[in-house]
């Protein structure tokens, strides 16, 4: 059972943008995509820990601001040919209120 935590209103997060939630294991990037889905991933790129929250959001992906790896927001996986993974967190939206669960999915891996 997920433990949902309310983190804010959908409109607090810019479309194709992100906000940071300070979590117990470091920052979490909460990212809102063009189609108003909200994703939460550990704010640390599998490459060299770049802050993913600062990247350009496109489709369901974010481009890391440091060296442009593309990370899939649904799986946390780096897009081929880059290899690595970052932890994701479940989210849900109810009446435009965004909830986050700290039950991590996936672990950070990288080169």
């Amino acid at each position: 059972m997920s433990n949902w935590i309310e983190i804010g209103h959908l409109n607090d997060i810019p479309r194709q943008g992100s906000r940071i939630v300070e979590g117990p294991d470091g920052n979490i990037a909460v990212i809102r995509t063009q189609d108003d889905s909200v994703f939460a991933i550990h704010d640390s790129c599998p490459h060299k820990q770049g802050p993913l929250s600062q990247g350009i959001v496109f489709g369901h992906k974010v481009a890391c601001p440091l060296h442009n790896w593309a990370i899939d927001l649904g799986t946390g996986q780096a897009q081929a040919p880059d290899e690595g993974n970052v932890a994701c967190y479940p989210t849900k939206i109810e009446n435009d209120v965004v909830f986050l669960s700290l039950d991590k999915v996936g672990e950070k891996t990288g080169p």
Partner: protein, 820 residues
């Protein structure tokens, strides 16, 4: 994962070769579910990289290494593949194809990609065992088998294919003689001088040549034993390779009365005379040309896929091709019309002692063709100039010495890519060696620079090694696959070029990113990190005051108004007009550094101060303090005006002829806050000693006694480039007008991420002079447009960000969660 097929239409592809499968790959990208695809291939294999057969023959590669798509790929995409199955007939009326075992298959669309067949001269004995062409895996197998128990080989044909065959057979231990009808080798790619140099080199490796030779009879009864020439000479041969040319395979078309000449005739959408049948690759003939190289089929594949996908908005206009010989250790490059006629002129460099020869054929300053032998470092560059139709008048005096002599500090001309050892470092940013690049190209069958970048990271950071990587690709793949800049789409989301997009924005009155993408048929929902920033800039430039900037389409530096550092903190650089500061400003900077515990305070190369290591959440407060002391953002992070460097000038310096500080400040006040395709730097020096280094800036002013020299398109970064002298003017007000006009011309015409240097190299200095020196009215209009757009951009972004709560949110944490 195999997809269930409820696809409406049936696409049949005849020919499982490079053209056919490339088109299918492109089609799957555009419309994966539109067709049920069935592929017929006469060969018993999956899809392989035919051009690497030469390296299989020479023993440098194995068959497994050259496979592009195995069975699994077809399964994964739900494609039905019939190998070892030849299509023998097309019934156009009932839209069916018939296989050699008599089965019939229906199609809605048919794609012919049957390639070509080697020409076999009808000499007596041509059907003896041991006489073969050089086209497919079967031929190479036959040749390699023959090398095991035979000694002598004859290759008829001294063209590209013949020489690669001869070299391969020699590498396998055979004694090889090349018999050629003409008196120079590769006469279709090389002029006489280069042809002779090549011959001498190959002879020194052990190949024998008989030139100007007419073959008469192939000798032998059960198997070939030799070749007799018209003059009676007999040359022993246990194997005889015919490499005298290729013939587009058109039998199917002929049989069903589909219009063909040399190849199957297609229009600019690669459609044949039958509205359901397309043709691409070597079997097709477009605008009179049937190509025999791979590069054109990439472009054709892209276009035909676009039409098969029912998008239909791009057309094929023909290709310019270049060639290299894939013989290790031989470096030659050839492109275009390298012979010329009485309307052209040649520039030639010949150093036989050094084994180096270059010839360029020019018409009205535009390169028509090139032959390089020995030193081919600049092949890619000449090819680029040729395809872009760049006027080379302005650089003529050093054109032959190559791009390195135009100031590429990255690598000197001695670095002929092909001659480099495998462990030579190619990409200094990412530590990639030549061997890594070659391995990636051949192992993953890469054809484009983007693919090589993605797989190896080479040339993906600063880009200074791009030319070298392109050369390695060209020498590994035997021709240049780089797209002409003019044809390059903005990114993978669209087939349109930067110029197409800019023109459409204005013509169609497109005023925001989503509308632009929708109108122009973008392939992705909301673009990518390459196209969104470009579109944002183009819209901003086209509609000053009207377009609402899209922060989410900007790279983080421009969104956070500071440079992101490797640890995720930011740097803060306040503007210091013309490099002048005051005790008050310095005190405020010192106070800010103390108050926010800023770890590093550094004087930059741009005559101002950089505060490094500021936490993002501190940025608004840091800015406010600096603002309160009268300082604004220095845009050290932006594709925008950076700095205006000045020297001491007339006010203090004993040599100063004009007031460079005053002029520099005026220029910075006029130009700050503007957005440009890439960063933009200005400098003003008070005399020709040029202490402000104005001759490596985007716009440089050098004062002289009688006025001001205006210099443009310098670059001090990755490739050092000295400016071109635009013109001389007399007054400060003229300097201002020219500065604004030049910046606006650059803003309106360069591609996003082009600095002024590559842009001017492409369009030519003469063009810029015509636009804004000779044409006064146009200069004034440009200047006016610049000033108009500046009225909307000169407000301090720092202030906007800390005073607007919505913008400020970018810098604040959403929530802090406790320990769970």
């Amino acid at each position: 994962m195999s997809k269930v097929s409820h696809k409406a239409k049936k696409l049949i592809v005849v020919g499982n070769g490079m053209a056919g499968m490339h088109a299918v790959e492109e089609l799957l990208d555009l419309a994966p579910d539109l067709y049920e695809i069935t592929v017929f291939g006469a060969e018993p294999h999956g899809n392989y990289n035919r051009i690497l057969l030469s390296l299989v023959l020479s023993g440098e590669k194995k068959i497994e290494d050259i496979m592009i798509n195995g069975r699994a790929w077809y399964d994964e995409h739900g494609i039905t593949l019939h190998t070892d199955t030849k299509i023998v007939q097309i019934e156009r009326g009932s839209k069916r194809v018939i296989t050699d075992d008599g089965q019939a298959f229906e199609y809605d669309r048919l794609l012919l990609a049957t390639g070509s067949d080697p020409v076999i001269l009808p000499l007596p004995g041509h059907d003896l065992p041991g006489v073969i062409g050089f086209r497919d895996i079967h031929d190479v197998d036959t040749m390699i088998k023959a090398t095991q128990d035979h000694k002598h080989a004859v290759v008829i044909g001294g063209g590209l294919l013949g020489l690669e065959a001869a070299n391969g057979l020699m590498k396998q231990g055979m004694d090889v003689t090349v018999v050629h009808l003409m008196d120079t080798l590769m006469e279709r790619q090389l002029d006489v001088t280069a042809g002779k140099m090549l011959q001498a080199n190959l002879e020194s490796r052990g190949l024998k040549f008989v030139l100007s030779a007419q073959s008469e009879t192939i000798l032998g009864t059960d198997r070939v034993t030799g070749l007799r020439l018209a003059d009676g000479t007999e040359i022993p041969a246990d194997i005889l390779v015919m490499a005298v040319g290729i013939r587009p395979s058109t039998e199917l078309a002929a049989d069903c009365r589909l219009h063909f000449e040399r190849g199957i005739v297609v229009d600019d959408s690669l459609l044949t005379f039958d509205p359901s049948i397309y043709a691409i690759g070597e079997c097709a003939q477009h605008r009179g040309t049937a190509y025999g190289l791979v590069a054109p089929l990439f472009e054709q594949g892209r276009v035909v896929a676009n039409h098969l996908a029912e998008l239909g908005f791009i057309t094929y206009k023909g290709s310019m091709t270049s060639t290299k010989l894939k013989v290790t250790g031989i470096d030659l490059f050839s492109a275009g019309d390298f012979i010329g006629d009485d309307t052209t002129e040649d520039i030639v460099f010949n150093d036989p002692g050094n084994g180096s020869y270059k010839k360029l054929v020019l018409k009205d300053g535009i390169i028509q063709g090139a032959v390089l032998y020995g030193d081919t470092v600049d092949g890619a560059w000449y090819f680029q100039l040729m395809r872009d139709q760049t006027d080379t008048k302005d650089i003529r005096s050093h054109l032959l010495f190559g791009q390195s002599h135009l100031g590429d500090s990255g690598h000197g001309g001695e670095n002929a890519a092909a001659a480099l050892p495998d462990d030579a470092e190619i990409c200094g940013c990412n530590g990639v060696c030549k061997g890594d690049v070659v391995k990636a190209i051949t192992e993953h069958n890469l054809f484009t620079l983007d693919e090589v970048r993605a797989h190896t990271k080479a040339s993906s950071s600063c880009g200074s090694c791009t030319g070298l990587v392109e050369q390695i690709m060209a020498s590994t793949l035997g021709s240049d696959f780089s797209k002409s800049e003019k044809e390059k789409p903005v990114c993978g989301c669209t087939a349109l070029t930067h110029e197409d997009v800019r023109a459409a924005i204005i013509k169609e009155d497109l005023k925001d990113i989503p509308t632009t993408m929708r109108f122009l048929n973008w392939q992705t929902e909301d673009g990518c990190p390459t196209c969104r920033p470009a579109l944002n800039y183009y819209l901003l430039c086209a509609w000053p005051g009207e377009y609402i900037d899209d922060a989410q389409a900007r790279f983080i530096n421009e969104r956070a108004h500071g440079n992101i550092q490797k640890d995720g903190t930011y740097s803060v650089v306040p503007r210091m007009w013309g490099g002048i500061t005051t005790p008050k400003e310095l005190r405020a900077i010192a106070d800010v550094a103390d108050k926010f515990k800023i770890p590093t305070v550094k004087v930059t190369g741009g005559q101002r101060i950089d505060l490094f290591g500021v936490a993002k959440s501190d940025l608004p407060a840091v800015w406010k303090d600096l603002n309160d002391a009268g300082m604004v953002s220095g845009h050290a992070y932006g594709k925008s005006l950076r700095t205006v460097k000045t020297c001491a000038g007339q006010q203090w310096c004993r040599f100063g002829t004009q007031d460079s500080i005053k002029l520099g400040i005026a220029l910075e006040r006029m130009t700050w806050g503007s957005w440009t395709p890439h960063k933009y730097k200005i400098a003003v020096s008070g005399c020709p000693r040029n202490c402000a280094e104005a001759t490596i800036k985007d716009f440089g002013v050098v004062a002289v006694d009688s006025g001001f020299e205006l210099h443009i398109a310098g670059n001090g970064g990755i490739k050092v480039r000295v400016t071109d002298l635009l013109c001389k003017v007399e007054s400060e007000s003229e300097v201002m007008e020219y500065a604004g006009a030049f910046m606006q011309l650059y803003r309106e015409q360069a591609r996003y991420l082009d600095r002024t240097a590559p842009w001017v190299e492409r369009v030519g200095l003469t063009y810029v002079q015509e636009q804004m020196v000779n044409d006064e009215a146009n200069r004034k209009a440009l200047y006016e447009r610049f000033l108009h757009s500046q009225t909307f951009s000169q407000s301090d972004p720092w202030k906007e960000n800390y005073s607007d709560p919505k913008k400020r949110a970018e810098f604040e944490t959403l929530t802090t969660l406790g320990q769970s």
